[in-house]
């Protein structure tokens, strides 16, 4: 167990943005909410997975909606706490700890204000190891654990419990209801035992994100952000270049798009094609596939090392493309069925980027 203070929270926000692979939404609002909560209630307990009792009740918290709506329609102060309490009421039991479902982007910090105000510990883990667009895309699903019963709550007090036959349907129902709630809902889901968390969560990801953020701010390599990112993210440089053409189109409720990046330096003369949905999904250099989901494809500003999200990607950015290997759980057949290229509509086998020819 360790305590999280204001500095740790700032580091976590930075690390979460770097791990997001282009999605997950801006951490700006959740960062300041968390800082405010810690100022008011004191530091937050971060529990190592092994410290959980096997029969502890752990509930994941996650904001749902669209990143473009999230920057406008900010949450009410207590909506996430209300979602948690509603699920607890339904289960007839209080949570012993809460956790983040998604370490990439805004949701890495979603549990923190609730943890501070409710005096609950946060588990040092998540269920995605990055940012992913749908609720069933979790390591919990790989182990057959249910997202339901799930509580959904909006700022006005509208709320519901979703119970479904599987996690796919949780996502379907929750997405529709969230849209009706103004594309802004707080969710409490995956009520699991400590034992199940130990088996199925991706461990230590919160403290890793903090360490990444801290390194970016304090390392002696600060002046060479790309080199530093490579080291701390265990990433591999795939490409360096300038963003040229960007196409965006809407497709069954998801914004999809592609961009081409024209190589500079050692990559002069080559072109990298990038496909994205809510995250960066696939890259190919001169028509040869070089990385796909579930490996995290990160686009970083060459000068500052900051992560560029799908929404921010624009003509003229000078970027480095880094690939971060997916957590082992995503490279299993069960994991790939959930988040491999086919899950996003690309008819191809997943090949870990280390084994790609180029």
């Amino acid at each position: 167990m360790r305590l999280i203070d204001e500095e740790d929270i700032k580091h976590l926000a930075l690390g979460a943005a770097l791990l997001s692979g282009g999605g997950g939404g801006s951490t700006y609002a959740t960062l300041h909410q968390s800082l405010e909560a810690v100022r008011r209630h004191g530091p937050i307990k971060l529990l190592n997975i092994d410290e959980l009792d096997d029969d502890a009740l752990v509930i994941s918290l996650c904001g749902m909606g669209a990143p473009t709506v999230a920057i406008e329609h900010l949450f009410a102060k207590d909506t996430h706490a209300n979602a948690l309490h509603f699920l607890e009421e339904h289960l007839g039991r209080k949570a012993d700890a809460i956790m983040s479902l998604e370490v990439g982007g805004a949701n890495a910090l979603t549990p923190l204000p609730v943890a501070a105000s409710e005096g609950l510990p946060v588990v040092d883990a998540d269920a995605m190891g990055r940012a992913l667009p749908e609720l069933q895309m979790t390591s919990f699903s790989v182990y057959g654990l249910s997202a339901a019963p799930m509580a959904l709550h909006d700022d006005n007090g509208n709320r519901c419990i979703i119970d479904t036959v599987n996690n796919y349907w949780v996502e379907q129902f929750a997405r529709s209801i969230t849209t009706d709630m103004g594309a802004r809902a707080a969710t409490a889901l995956y009520p699991l035992s400590g034992k199940q968390i130990k088996q199925a969560a991706i461990r230590d990801t919160i403290s890793q994100a903090m360490a990444i953020g801290k390194a970016m701010q304090t390392s002696h390599l600060k002046q060479q952000p790309i080199r530093l990112l490579q080291e701390i993210l265990h990433g591999h440089v795939l490409f360096e270049g300038k963003v040229l053409d960007i196409q965006r189109y809407s497709d069954v409720g998801f914004a999809r798009g592609s961009a081409s990046i024209s190589g500079v330096g050692p990559y002069q003369g080559q072109t990298l094609e990038l496909k994205f949905q809510n995250e960066y999904l696939l890259t190919q250099i001169d028509s040869k596939i070089c990385a796909t989901v579930p490996d995290t494809i990160g686009i970083f500003d060459q000068r500052s090392g900051s992560a560029i999200s799908v929404e921010e990607l624009r003509y003229g950015f000078r970027v480095t493309v880094l690939v971060i290997p997916a957590p082992p759980v995503w490279r299993t057949p069960e994991g790939l069925a959930l988040v491999g290229p086919r899950a996003f509509g690309y008819d191809m086998e997943y090949v870990p980027f280390e084994q790609q020819e180029s």
Binding site: Q33, P67, I71, H73, L74, A76, N156, G182, A255, R314
Partner: protein, 516 residues
């Protein structure tokens, strides 16, 4: 005829133009009083040309006076901040994350009330007139005279901010009210912040415009005054008093647009080389390419549209250090003391300008004062300067195709006649006053930024509606309808939202009527 003026940190530049011709120009040090430099420059130009002041139809002024006040936290008004969005948004009250000295400078008068919209235009909650009246009375008791109102998703429906302003004005008739939808775009925190900053600058903007008017009438110039905006278009005097925040980045914008005008190019990279720093920007169809990500000004996050500029700490006054092996240039600079401290001007500091003279790139001051510099040092320093500038220029390029570069600003002498990847380097004759020319040639613009659901309104119609709205805003701002063209159309589909929901942004510009 028109007059263009740029009030910079060190120099005030002015030009007198008739059609596309510069009749006169003048450069003078900026004075502590904002109008001192302007009066000097105008008087001199009028004497030079003997132009009758009745022939001057417009005076365009670019100034960062308001930006400087914000950064220095001086002359700021207390602001009543009213956000409509309850029960939503209370997790992040207005002015969260602001520097505490700025919060103190404008008071901590934050109010959250009901109202605001969901993304598809449904109200989050109904506006509560009694709640707003109570807030207005509280502000009256505190003596607040400037109010900033923001509402969730006000860019897609402006009604609620207008209605709230009406109610508040009822209780607080003397208040000046800034509405967030008039200033910023989607992104509540950033738009609200921009509105608050605007509100705290209103007294200053009023005084500034008054001083400008006085300075002109002392010279018997009756022409209307226009103020340069961040995007390269103009505001009339009334708008300038209401929206001072829109002037913050007019400096780089004006030099880029002036450079474009002087060179006759509409698509090029413009490098403005100053005394301490140099800015590279990209011109697309005659306007600066803008940033899309939130930026910070005076420590406050905002989403004002700003020219996308790549700055490097290198200029004519940059100090050059040499340890016999490595050459370092900048970031320290002698700045406005160049003409005292540089070697060629009899000083004792080795500057980038001295290197340019020693290398034969420029002939300034006393060339003998740099004759002793080792050839090795001069060559390395010249190479370093060219490399840094080439990198900045290259960073702004959007395609591998070679592009021309326009060089403006006093430090243009540092440039050799070629840079890698650049087809052509153009240093226009009047490079030193490009920013004043940029002010003089500016146009009037209008913009719209809204979210449409294509399942409710077909895409073609939505685009048409957005274009029409931008065009009529440009006309309302004073653009001549016969010259209006749409300069930008941007469509951004929203992820996770069904119904083909897309954000459409359109910008239109046109010439000011009858000032040429």
């Amino acid at each position: 005829m028109r007059i263009g003026i740029d009030v910079g940190g060190t120099h005030t530049d002015a030009v007198l133009m008739e059609h596309a011709t510069v009749l006169a120009s003048y450069k003078t040090p900026t004075t502590p009083s904002i109008t001192g430099g302007i009066s000097t420059a105008l008087r001199s130009m009028l004497q030079q040309t003997r132009v009758n002041t009745s022939e001057i139809h417009a005076v365009m002024i670019g100034t960062t006076h308001c930006l400087n006040a914000l950064i220095e936290r001086r002359d700021l008004m207390p602001v009543g901040v009213v956000r409509l969005g309850l029960p939503s948004t209370s997790s992040f009250p207005p002015m969260t994350g602001w520097p505490s000295d700025l919060r103190e400078a404008i008071g901590n008068h934050v109010y959250m009330a009901h109202g605001g919209y969901e993304f598809r235009g449904r109200p989050i909650s109904a506006l509560d007139p009694n709640e707003l009246r109570g807030i207005a009375r509280d502000m009256r008791n505190k003596g607040i005279r400037s109010v900033a109102i923001s509402a969730v998703f006000s860019p897609i429906n402006t009604d609620i901010e207008l209605k709230a302003a009406e109610i508040i004005r009822d209780e607080l008739p003397e208040a000046r009210i800034t509405l967030s939808h008039e200033i910023g775009r989607i992104g509540l925190i950033e738009r609200e912040n921009a509105a608050i900053i605007n509100a705290c600058l209103l007294d200053l903007a009023h005084d500034m415009m008054h001083s400008f008017q006085q300075a002109l009438s002392e010279l018997s110039i009756q022409a209307p005054i226009y103020i340069s905006q961040n995007d390269g278009t103009l505001m009339n005097d009334e708008a300038a008093e209401r929206y001072p925040v829109l002037t913050f980045a007019c400096g780089p914008t004006n030099s880029m647009r002036g450079g474009a005008f002087l060179s006759g190019l509409t698509d090029a990279i413009v490098m403005d080389i100053g005394g301490t720093t140099s800015d590279a920007g990209l011109l697309l169809r005659g306007f600066p390419h803008e940033t899309s990500a939130p930026t910070e000004i005076g420590g406050v996050r905002n989403n004002l549209r700003m020219p996308n500029v790549y700055s490097i700490p290198l200029g004519g006054g940059s100090i050059v250090e040499y340890d016999g092996n490595e050459v370092r240039i900048g970031p320290r600079s002698v700045g406005y003391e160049l003409t005292k401290r540089a070697l060629v001007f009899g000083g004792d500091t080795l500057t980038a300008t001295d290197i340019a003279v020693a290398a034969g790139l420029a002939d300034l001051g006393n060339r003998n004062a740099v004759a002793h510099l080792p050839a090795n040092l001069v060559k390395r320093a010249v190479d370093t300067i060219q490399m840094q500038i080439a990198y900045a220029v290259d960073s702004m390029r959007m395609s591998p195709e070679p592009v021309p570069a326009i060089i403006v600003g006093g430090g243009s002498i540092l440039i050799q006649d070629r840079l890698p990847g650049i087809t052509e380097i153009i240093i226009p004759d009047q490079y030193a006053v490009a920013n004043a020319i940029g002010a003089a040639i500016a146009q009037m613009g209008g913009e719209t930024d809204r979210i449409f659901s294509f399942s409710q309104i077909p895409r073609e119609e939505a685009l048409k509606e957005a274009r029409q709205e931008a065009i009529s805003r440009a006309i309302n701002a004073g653009a001549d309808p016969s010259t209006i063209r749409v300069t930008e159309v941007e469509e951004i589909p929203l992820s996770y939202v069904p119904g083909n929901t897309t954000r459409i942004r359109v910008k239109a510009v046109g010439d000011l009527g009858r000032v040429w």
